[in-house]
């Protein structure tokens, strides 16, 4: 019995200590980067090292280096991304498309990716050839993504998923009729998978992707812009872009 009480006491103390050492401020300036880590080739975990990497992550890390800050990646589900922006991290690096609605809520850097959205369907699908054919069809997308808005506009029934992997898994077995995603994703990742899906039609939109910041964080956005401009000038950005896509997609 005595032992049990001792154990209880010790664990109470332990719990106290644990909660006490929550936050201790760091002197070195950190640039915290919110990203999904579930969206190859933009943001994913390396097969061998498990480090979060990808085109967006590498661009963000390079930016941090040029601002003389220490980059820190914070893997976050998309649904928590914007609610955590400015609280748990300083910027989002996750192929965030600049849209008028988002411009009202957030500050953006200049774009570092220019790409298009494309429709993806099951290989056996014969009747969907472009975004116009999506009326009344079931489209799988990520909650709160730009593609969710596009699908709604096209008159589709939208089904929400955590990320692109879950959408493709369902498209593969015809639980949804179509998905919308970035052309770059389709060109690089999709063709290496065993999913029974194919892209159709021409890109239906031109998307400009940029880093997102809290609305009143203009200061950081400006600094990041400057670093991005330098990276464009000295070829670092196009080098990173070629590494992931075999072409310069930053313009």
């Amino acid at each position: 019995m005595k032992k049990l009480w001792a154990l209880l006491m010790v664990s109470v103390m332990l719990a106290g200590v644990l909660t006490a050492c929550g936050n201790n401020g760091e002197k070195k300036k950190e640039l915290t980067i919110g990203t999904e880590a579930t969206y190859p080739p933009f943001s994913y975990r390396d097969k061998k090292t498990n480090e979060v990497t990808g085109y967006d992550v590498e661009v963000a890390k390079e930016v941090a280096k040029r601002l003389d800050m220490k980059p820190k990646v914070v893997p976050t589900e998309w649904k928590n991304m914007f609610s955590s922006l400015g609280k748990r991290f300083d910027m989002v690096a996750n192929q965030v498309t600049i849209t008028p609605e988002r411009k009202k809520q957030f500050a953006f850097s200049s774009p570092y990716t220019v790409s298009g959205g494309k429709v993806i369907v099951n290989k056996n699908n014969k009747d969907i050839k472009s975004i116009k054919d999506l009326k009344g069809k079931v489209v799988g997308t990520t909650q709160g993504s730009n593609y969710a808005a596009q699908a709604e506009k096209a008159g589709a029934k939208v089904k929400y998923y955590k990320g692109i992997a879950q959408v493709l898994t369902d498209l593969d077995v015809n639980r949804v009729d179509a998905a919308l995603n970035d052309e770059l994703f389709i060109l690089t990742e999709l063709k290496n998978t065993k999913y029974n899906v194919k892209p159709v039609g021409e890109p239906f939109s031109e998307n400009k992707m940029a880093f997102a910041f809290k609305k009143n964080d203009k200061d950081l956005a400006k600094k990041v812009d400057k670093a991005l401009a330098d990276m464009k000038k000295d070829g670092t950005l196009s080098k990173l872009s070629k590494k992931y896509f075999g072409a310069d997609v930053s313009e």
Partner: protein
């Protein structure tokens, strides 16, 4: 198929890293809810009507709402004042949630001790606290073990919900790695097997403990 197998092998060390977080988070939550659950149980059985009402509402709320909602509220709900880290919100959420269940397990066990024992202890001049500590609790916690242990295994499995609030535990590592490679099923199965291993260990621990306490005839 071979590439999937290769990827499963490559993923194992990282999934085990995640499992470590799962185990630590679970243990912390278990210890926390064993203590906090007892406090709630004592409030529930006290003679003070305010405490009783508080405990009733507490148990009703935390058993009557989904853990996922509770975690999301803790993680996103108070950011105007305090922005908890994912693991902090997860630890607090799991403790709050499972304390409600464990409190009821304690209460059932404590109330199963015959009233005569309280009376006998009082007649020896013991007060409430002494009686509880020396006579009632030593018997009650043994009786409470089977149902509390069920909650403990539940804690380990429910900790997977912490993946939604950025805790890098087993489920979130499995999730991120399966999405990163778009090799989904093998990695998720691998994670499931690791959970199964953890639950099996806990189950084995319960059997041993019960044998030692000679509850298993």
């Amino acid at each position: 198929m071979s590439s999937s197998l290769q990827y499963m092998v490559d993923s194992l060390p990282f999934l085990l890293e995640g499992a470590k977080i799962t185990v630590i988070l679970s243990l912390g939550s278990i210890i926390g809810s064993l203590i906090f659950g007892l406090i709630i149980a004592l409030c529930r059985m006290s003679s003070n009507s305010v405490l009783v009402r508080f405990a009733k509402v507490y148990i009703s709320f935390f058993r009557g709402t989904p853990l996922l909602i509770q975690l999301l509220i803790l993680y996103n709900g108070f950011t105007f004042a305090i922005t908890p880290e994912g693991w902090q919100a997860a630890l607090v959420g799991l403790i709050l949630h499972f304390s409600a269940y464990i409190a009821e397990s304690y209460r059932g066990a404590i109330q199963s001790i015959p009233n005569g024992q309280w009376e006998a202890a009082y007649s020896l001049g013991m007060n409430y606290f002494q009686t509880f500590r020396e006579v009632i609790f030593p018997q009650a916690w043994r009786i409470a073990i089977p149902s509390i242990w069920n909650s403990l295994i539940d804690v380990a499995k429910s900790s997977s919900l912490a993946s939604v609030i950025t805790v890098p535990e087993l489920t979130s590592i499995a999730d991120q790695r399966s999405a990163s490679s778009l090799i989904v099923l093998p990695v998720l199965l691998e994670a499931a097997l690791i959970y199964w291993g953890i639950s099996t260990l806990l189950e084995w621990g319960r059997e041993r403990l019960e044998r030692r306490l000679r509850l298993v005839k």
